[in-house]
């Protein structure tokens, strides 16, 4: 048990050191042609997502999940020794994202937790990108859950 507690202490340390600390800021020029293609290939049929002439033309809410920051992890975040896999994505939508908008995405680690894996511990990292428009309006949060399968040290 002492060894296990020592192992999990590293997660507590990571949480202490990295949670809610902004590590990336990037700017996105929103292109209506691009998000309309995204909408079509995903099967959207509502004109406000696929028709540039629609007066309410806007990106589907899930589109912000496709926006990738300059880096996905803090530069000083330790290498956990396993391959990262995408475990899930979530979006909190707050306001429409329009063609031609300039969004600023600011990223931080929102959560770090663990589960058991067959060959070791699985560490889940939740990265949140908060997106703001030119006026500073918070338009969306885009979360990515990455799971890293560690290998047991023998």
């Amino acid at each position: 048990m002492a060894e296990q507690e020592a192992v999990d202490q590293d997660i507590l340390d990571l949480r202490e050191q990295f949670l809610n600390r902004e590590f990336d800021e990037v700017t996105f020029e929103i292109d209506g042609a691009r998000f309309a293609e995204y909408a079509k290939v995903c099967g959207e049929t509502a004109p406000r997502f696929i028709d540039r002439n629609n007066p309410d033309f806007q990106a589907p809410p899930t589109y912000v999940s496709t926006l990738v920051g300059g880096r996905s992890m803090p530069p000083d975040f330790p290498n956990l020794g396993g391959m990262g896999m995408d475990a899930g994505k979530s979006v909190q939508w707050k306001a429409p994202v329009r063609d031609g908008a300039t969004l600023t995405g600011r990223s931080h680690l929102h959560d770090i937790y663990t589960k058991t894996g067959r060959s070791g511990r699985m560490v889940f990292l939740v990265t949140r990108m908060e997106l703001y428009d030119e006026a500073g309006t918070h338009v969306a949060n885009a979360d990515t859950r990455t799971v890293i399968r560690e290998r047991i040290q023998r």
């Binding site: 290939v41 099967g43 049929t45 899930t62 909190q92 939508w93």
Partner: protein, 139 residues
Amino acid sequence: MSTVKTIADVEFGGELPSFKPDTSIDATRRFGKYVGWDSPRFTDHEGARKEGLPGAIVPGVMSQGFLGAMIHRWAPDAEIVAIDTIFRAPVLVDQPHSITGVVTDVDEDASTVEIDITVTNEAGETRVFGTATAKLPNG
């Protein structure tokens, strides 16, 4: 296809019309070309196998887009205020999948509904599931 316009049209337990997303290699290539995620694991079966996958897989962000599209097909005026997608297993390209959705909560005061959404393959296995909260116009 039956669509809903307002919160008054929605009943707890109601099913959204089933949706068969386009999981073809052409679709993932289009996605790769216009949106990103153009790695061979998404756009080329052979390239994906070289990475140890059974074949090309649909990008997670594209699966999430399918779920959003399904909700809008059911309720064209819905505003999806939150959507949470959990990737349980890869969605394989060129294999038929279907998406089902059901209403699991109705809040008439807030004019919102909660929806469970599940992507299954032909074997009936859940590959992706999630929940969404959508705001609908008042009746």
